[in-house]
């Protein structure tokens, strides 16, 4: 039983890393980033390609974070000129461009053939020990990320990004340029997504552009919407609920055998959608939030 639970936990933690970036970007700063999977993909491909060319996994993960941060700079500049909802669509388009590029830059990424045989973390350990070691590492990284974002949220920097979220014009009137703060926030979230991507690549060991569709972004959004966007615990709780929903449907059949196999995919997506609507309408602050949270 344990290896399956470990696998679920690892993927949950990867979603937590993605969701934490959105908590910082949207929950605290108010940036609607609908292209999160683009940074995730850049991280996954960077680390996969480096390690497949002989670099150690550690280097790959750090490079993944750095590579994912790079597009945050131009995107941050664009964000200054666009309305919230336009920015959402532009970032969504960005993630699609990333997917189209990795699909078609065949000589680098082998395109739709994907990259198999990506090195696993702790491959030298035997099965169970290596799973636990991977889990421990991702858990440590996630905790570090949580600590870092908590620290940011409670700092003068965090105060200012929340001020930007509440009223950007007033921030300018107080002599501070929101641009640089937004860029930094995008970069930090992108780096977390890049690291998540690297862990994902090294865990699944095979990546292909089809894994980096906008649905991944929406799942991360669902996680913070369900859990509560302006609280860090929201990202954790929301990701856990999301994974229970997605994986739990495997067990539904034992209890509801009348649902046909092919209807199950529809039921799964319907339940996710319904929960999302109910949560937004009835509990806008998410499960962890208090009434009046942003």
């Amino acid at each position: 039983m344990s290896a399956y639970l470990i696998a679920i936990t690892i993927l949950t933690l990867i979603y937590v890393l993605l969701a934490l970036g959105l908590t910082l970007q949207f929950g605290l700063t108010g940036l609607i980033n609908f292209g999160h999977v683009g940074f995730f993909a850049i991280g996954a491909y960077t680390s996969a390609l480096l390690t497949l060319n002989g670099w150690p996994v550690g280097v790959g993960i750090v490079a993944a974070a750095v590579a994912a941060m790079l597009p945050a700079l131009p995107i941050g500049y664009i964000s200054l000129r666009l309305r919230d909802d336009y920015f959402a669509i532009v970032t969504l388009a960005f993630s699609e461009v990333v997917r189209i590029v990795v699909t078609n830059a065949r000589e680098w990424t082998s395109g739709t053939q994907g990259l198999p045989g990506i090195a696993r973390l702790y491959a030298s350990l035997n099965g169970a020990a290596s799973e636990w070691a991977v889990l421990g590492t991702i858990l440590a990284v996630t905790l570090l990320a949580i600590w870092m974002i908590t620290r940011i949220a409670r700092s003068p920097f965090g105060r200012l990004i929340q001020a930007i979220r509440d009223n950007e014009v007033a921030v300018k009137a107080l002599g501070k340029d929101p641009a640089w703060f937004k860029i930094q926030v995008l970069a930090v979230g992108a780096a977390l997504a890049g690291i998540a991507g690297a862990f994902y690549a090294h865990y699944i060991t095979y990546i292909v552009p089809d894994q980096f569709v906008p649905l991944v972004t929406f799942y991360a959004w669902m996680a913070i919407t369900l859990g509560g966007a302006s609280r860090i615990s929201g990202a954790v709780v929301g990701s856990a609920i999301l994974m229970v929903l997605l994986e739990g449907s495997r067990f539904v059949h034992d209890f509801l055998p009348m649902i046909s196999d092919s209807a199950m995919a529809s039921v799964r997506i319907g339940v996710v959608g319904l929960l999302l609507i109910l949560c937004i309408v009835w509990r806008p602050q998410g499960l962890t939030g208090k009434r009046g949270d942003a």
């Binding site: 666009l82 919230d84 669509i89 461009v97 529809s266 997506i269 319907g270 959608g273 319904l274």
Partner: protein, 288 residues
Amino acid sequence: MSNFPQLIANGLVQGLFIAMAALAITLAFSIARFPNAATGDVMTAGAYTGLATQSATGSLILAGIVAIFTGAAISLAADRLVFRKLAGRAVVASLVASIGVAFVIRAVLGVTFGLSQLVYDIPLTRAKLYWGVRLTPLDLQVAGAVALALALVFGILHLTPIGRQMRAVADDRDLARVSGVRPERVMLALWMISGGVAGLAGMMLGIKTVVEPELGWSMLLPAFTAAILGGIGSPGGAVAAGLLLGVVQEMSTPFVGFNYKLAIAFAALLGVLLWRPSGLFGKREGVR
């Protein structure tokens, strides 16, 4: 050598579908003030109910009417049950909720109609050459139907009292309220028109391609792109930008190949937005 007139024609035909979807999005936006991600799945619903009607009665006209009513009904229901409750909240609340609505619609369609592809039973006819450009009668029929739908929508917007009220509310809700417009009624009418356009667009798309659960969802991003490119909230802009996107995508293929089509559309979007942040035909907005 590439046959550019043919590419333009192909682009226009594809652009018609983008234009219809973008029109539905932009209409909803002009009053509800958020990009409705459920539009794609409303289209899919129109495609399925139209198909069911056609195979039951054999009439495409009837199918079109059913598709329009399906779209209108779903939109109204979504507004009543979800979007209205979110009025006054941040844009992102409605946007994320609309993704939820999209998923629920798709789930219902999947359970009802299954996941395998279905097709409209339309006899195929050969293409004809018009000034060296090959077009099929189906293309022309679809174009005609789209043009008719657009004419109808613009007629409603510009020639009827409710249409004038819609434009008034879209321009300035408070001002409209003061001048005696009842936004409730206008909202209802608008959701119906937006949904009807989406339902019909879905059916047209279903006739042209095949009907499957992700039919409308995969149309969503190009449609959003066109709606923003045209200046969101501007119906004429959405249609023009949809056609433009279709043509630009096809015209780019001799230079960048077929695989970067969508990327070209996004590059166009980005370029336009950096140049004109409110889109080609949008009203400029400033900080007051």
